[in-house]
């Protein structure tokens, strides 16, 4: 089945050329047929009735000419760390085994209210900690080339999106967890500004970096979804509403920044060539290429890897096996009476996987003040983070320096990933160090999380994911937006995407 995309689908629904019930049935068929790709941790194929009923209601609304939104009747999926009422929501962890939330996350709720139909929960690295979705009970398979990783931590979401198991997918992004899997599976990935999409009902890992994100097969679809879920939520104190200036209609005069810090030794020639190609096309269409510098960009990985384990250790301390998830009876106990400390020790030892344990240990070390004031390290990281935000913002706002006034840029352009997409076999065999490999992959993705700015990852060519004989993923590039200017970024992204793909 070829994807028609939300925009076209919506048109077809409106003209009654296609029915939401039919689209849902096609989607469910795809889910059944592609089970070997392990996109889902849970899907509704075992209990289709309710969803089909929702689709029927949607169809009725279209017939009456009053659909709820452009998402009405559109099947979508959620990453397993979103609470979706009555569907298991485990964040890919054994410690939340069989946890079925009694409420929806704000993202799920807003989608439902807009008429979207949730078809399942996608596989992910446990609690979002990972870049390849290898820390998942079932490892998703890259539909383009089964030997390549799917990226992570929203790996299942990328696979589902790439293979029409739902028209779009919600992922979460902590340091590239949406954009990197989008990169690996050649789909579009969008990480909005921090606070623009509510985190209420998202099983958090690093509270100050985590943001819901959207994966889809084109930018219009991302925009349609974004429009529905965008905006302040009283249940998330860090969420905000933004107003944006009028959107651009052409690339003429758009200032595209290239930071000198983007040019690193590790960048292979192939990436440089791809970048060159995009730059040339942009210049041909009247965009202005501006060289800028964000000196702290090079310090961001250590800052990030100081902050996230600390927040992870803290956020995951609520999992003690007392209230939900893995419980006493499932923990082997030799003696009948187990004291509290012993109990949670057993639960957490059994419930958490290796990468999660690694980050909790690291986080507690960072926050510890037992012997030395290690806590200082964490505080220092926060300070550098603030400085970086200022530097990043200055690039967009424009700054007055000794060289005179430098006008701000509209977007930044960079590669999305440093090297080639790693092979599952190389990681499994130890040829690539999974841990270090993961960390360094994040060079271009992490800064957007650290400063809370929006990021968009785009393929340079269309890829027919399943029937591709070359098994070659598309070249990708990343656009960096100004904090709070998400719709502007999506609009410029759309203009660029059109000319890049047509060239």
């Amino acid at each position: 089945m070829n994807s028609i995309g939300i925009k076209r689908c919506s048109k077809a629904y409106n003209s009654l050329a296609v029915s939401p019930v039919q689209v849902l049935q096609d989607t469910l068929t795809a889910i059944k047929d592609l089970r070997h790709l392990n996109a889902f941790s849970y899907d509704i194929t075992s209990d289709e009735e309710e969803a089909l009923e929702l689709a029927a209601q949607s169809e009725k609304r279209y017939k009456q000419g009053n659909p709820l939104s452009p998402l009405d009747g559109v099947p979508i999926s959620f990453k397993d760390n979103f609470l979706v009422k009555n569907m298991p929501s485990t964040a890919g962890s054994k410690i939340l085994r069989d946890f079925v939330p009694p409420i929806d996350s704000t993202m799920a709720q807003r989608c439902r209210e807009a008429g979207a139909i949730i078809v399942g929960k996608t596989n992910m690295d446990e609690f979002g900690m990972g870049s390849f979705t290898l820390y998942s009970e079932k490892v998703p398979v890259n539909p383009i080339n089964e030997d390549l990783v799917v990226g992570g931590s929203s790996g299942g979401a990328a696979v589902a999106t790439a293979t029409n198991q739902g028209m779009a997918a919600f992922g979460t992004d902590t340091g590239g967890s949406v954009t990197f899997p989008a990169n690996c599976c050649s789909v579009y990935g969008f990480k909005p500004s921090y606070g623009r999409l509510s985190r209420h009902g998202v099983i958090l890992y690093s509270s100050s970096n985590d943001s819901p994100g959207i994966l889809a097969q084109n930018i219009d679809d991302i925009s349609s979804i974004f429009q529905v879920v965008d905006g302040e939520d009283i249940k998330d104190s860090n969420s905000l509403s933004f107003t944006e200036p009028e959107l651009r209609t052409s690339l003429k005069g758009v200032r595209v920044g290239i930071a000198e810090e983007f040019n690193i030794e590790e960048l292979p020639q192939e990436r440089i060539d791809e970048q060159r190609k995009v730059i040339d096309i942009l210049q041909d269409h009247g965009a202005e290429i501006v060289e800028v510098s964000i000196p702290l960009l090079k310090q961001i990985l250590p800052i990030y890897y100081t902050i996230i384990p600390a927040e992870a250790a803290s956020n995951l301390s609520r999992y003690d096996g007392l209230k939900y998830g893995l419980q006493h009876s499932t923990v082997s106990s030799k003696d009948s009476k187990v004291d509290y400390q012993e109990y949670i020790q057993r639960i957490r030892t059994e419930g958490f996987g290796i990468n999660v344990k690694r980050r909790i240990a690291l986080g507690n070390f960072v926050l510890s003040t037992q012997d030395v004031d290690f806590n200082e390290m964490y505080i220092k990281a926060q300070k550098v983070r603030r400085l970086f935000c200022e530097q990043y913002n200055d690039i967009f706002e424009g700054i007055e320096s000794s060289k005179g006034l430098q006008k701000g840029v509209d977007i930044l352009l960079s590669p999305n990933a440093v090297g080639d997409i790693p092979k599952v076999s190389s990681i499994r065999s130890g040829e690539i160090d999974a841990i270090i490999g993961e960390y360094s992959q994040d060079y271009y993705t992490v800064p957007s999380n650290v400063c809370g700015a929006p990021a968009l990852c785009l393929p340079m060519a269309d890829v027919d994911h399943l029937s591709q004989s070359e098994k070659k993923p598309a070249a990708m590039y990343k656009l960096w937006g100004k904090y709070g200017m998400d719709r502007s970024l999506l609009q410029i992204g759309k203009l660029i995407d059109k000319i890049v793909k047509n060239s």
């Binding site: 209420h200 099983i203 958090l204 100050s208 301390s317």
Partner: protein, 529 residues
């Protein structure tokens, strides 16, 4: 004090014990230093970060939201009401409202695993608390104005409650989890157990008076930890480390707990022992403190700012709004009662021990200003009214005082005015008040009139004296008995003879007589005093 000149080893433990028998003796030799950490539940409808009602006594787990039980994905949302209440406390205790950071406050996470801490951390304030460097004024044990510094006030979450009375299991009630607490930390500036009690009581009164907390210690709405250390007044080598007494159960135990702890510490120090940093609790029944844990075992709380909560800014509007609600604190009121109305510090304190009557008392004072002596008003309400109600086991004073009012007539005021206008004697007035307390619905004047308590306007003091003189003449035998009784060496003299004479005079005088005056007159006349 020559003993202190000798090296330690010459001092025997027996001798040492002789010096530390009572708290008074300890305080003679040692300087006590105490400070307090007080937690109180804020009076707000809903919890600090969730919209669950603050009703910890409702059916178990009926007042716990998904945020309170730390369901995955739930985020804290600050209840702005708590900020207002905390701001009131901060202003009442005269602190800097974190002006150094432009009125910015933040929340931090304090991590430890405990069954009644569902998030695995408590949200509290470490780096940017709502208030620092305040003070609380009070009248100390010598009735002098005094003050104690407040180091900081922080807003934080309360824990759930554990119950261990299930077979092999513990139960957890999350109703209290996430309720808003204020933690008030004082500087260690108190040096006497009585002052310690006074300070905590003053703070409690302030919190109650300003509707910050119901601050009931017995019900756990206010919890008090006391830090205690001793230093010998003359021997710099003799001192103990700070010991923290956790969770004292009531104001009345503060003094006792400190006394028992200083005797324990002084005994150890005097015998050459070492007082380590410890956390202890006070056992009310045994009147002794019991070790809970050594300070070395304290956890590493791994403090971290809470990334789920933004900074909050206290605006000048919020401050002026709060200021409007705290025009005075109990200390100001006590000072006014003492300076302006001439009550003693103890009387002013008594007024504050009955908060339910406070408004009534103040209104009456102002209404009767310059007509009735404040002392008399105080006497009517706090000795006669309270005394008689208490005797009759009528503890709802507010209800009873309201009953004194019928059809817009405050019969208590009516009665005071009758006395001031010399229409009724104090003794008879009391009896009228007792009738009212018993439920009599008539006006004070009518009760007095019907009981024959109203004085005859035409009776002069000379007429009264003449009546008494006549009784004394007629009852010579009793007068002699009175004289004999007075001459005897008995410590407690019999009151029979004089009361008989008073009774005889009153029978004639009726309302015109004041038994107190009659008694005084007889004493003067017969005994010359």
């Amino acid at each position: 004090m020559f003993l202190t000149k000798f090296p330690k080893k010459y001092r025997g433990p027996m001798l040492a014990r002789a010096f530390t028998r009572t708290p008074e003796q300890v305080l003679k030799n040692y300087k006590l230093t105490t400070g307090f950490e007080i937690h109180c539940q804020m009076l707000t409808e809903t919890k600090l970060f969730s919209n669950a009602p603050t009703k910890s006594n409702d059916l178990s787990n009926s007042c716990a939201s998904f945020v309170d039980v730390a369901l995955p994905g739930m985020l804290p949302v600050l209840n702005k009401e708590c900020l207002k209440v905390a701001l009131k406390a901060s202003l009442a205790l005269k602190g800097d409202i974190n002006k150094k950071d432009g009125y910015e406050i933040r929340f931090d996470r304090k991590h430890y695993f405990y069954p009644d801490m569902p998030q695995g951390y408590q949200i509290t304030q470490k780096e940017h608390p709502i208030m620092e460097n305040g003070y609380l004024r009070f009248y100390n044990r010598l009735k002098k104005e005094d003050k104690i510094g407040i180091e900081r006030i922080q807003i934080e979450q309360d824990s759930a409650k554990s119950f261990h009375d299930f077979h092999n299991y513990s139960g957890i009630d999350y109703n209290r989890a996430g309720s808003a607490l204020l933690e008030i930390v004082t500087f260690p500036e108190i040096h006497h157990p009585i002052d310690a009690r006074i300070v905590v009581r003053e703070l409690q009164e302030t919190l109650k008076y300003l509707n910050i907390s119901t601050a009931n210690m017995e019900e756990g709405q206010m919890r008090c930890d006391v830090n205690i250390s001793l230093r010998h007044r003359f021997d710099s080598e003799k001192f103990g480390n700070r010991v923290e007494l956790k969770n004292l159960q009531g104001i009345k135990f503060i003094e006792k707990a400190i006394e028992s702890e200083i005797v324990r510490q002084a005994t150890i120090i005097d015998s050459g022992g070492y007082v380590p940093l410890q956390t202890r609790r006070y056992d009310v029944d045994k009147n002794e403190t019991i070790l809970l844990r050594e300070k070395e075992d304290d956890l590493d709380y791994r403090f971290m700012y809470d990334p789920d909560l933004p900074s909050y800014f206290i605006t000048p509007e919020m401050i002026s709004e709060a200021e409007e609600q705290i025009s005075s604190v109990p200390f100001d009121e006590k000072k006014k009662l003492s300076d302006k109305f001439g009550l003693t510090v103890d009387q002013a304190q008594t007024v504050f021990s009955y908060p339910e009557l406070y408004d009534y008392f103040m209104e009456t004072l102002i209404q009767l200003n310059e007509i009735v002596d404040p002392q008399l008003v105080y006497n009517y309400i706090f000795s006669i009214f309270i005394g008689n109600c208490t005797k009759k086991n009528l503890t709802n004073f507010k209800f009873k005082i309201d009953q004194c009012k019928t059809k817009g007539n405050d019969r208590l005021i009516e009665l005071m005015l009758l006395q001031v206008e010399d229409k009724i004697s104090f003794s008879h007035a009391k009896m009228v008040l007792y009738e009212i307390i018993d439920g009599d619905k008539r006006s004070s004047f009518n009760i007095a009139k019907d009981s024959g308590f109203i004085k005859n306007e035409n009776t002069s003091i000379e007429d009264i004296n003449a009546v008494i003189d006549k009784i004394l003449e007629e009852k010579q035998d009793i007068v002699e008995k009175l004289r004999a009784e007075n001459r005897s060496n008995k410590r407690k003299k019999k009151l029979g003879p004089i009361m008989f004479l008073v009774g005889q005079a009153m029978r004639v005088l009726k309302a015109d007589g004041d038994p107190q005056y009659v008694q005084e007159y007889i004493r003067k006349k017969v005994l010359g005093k």
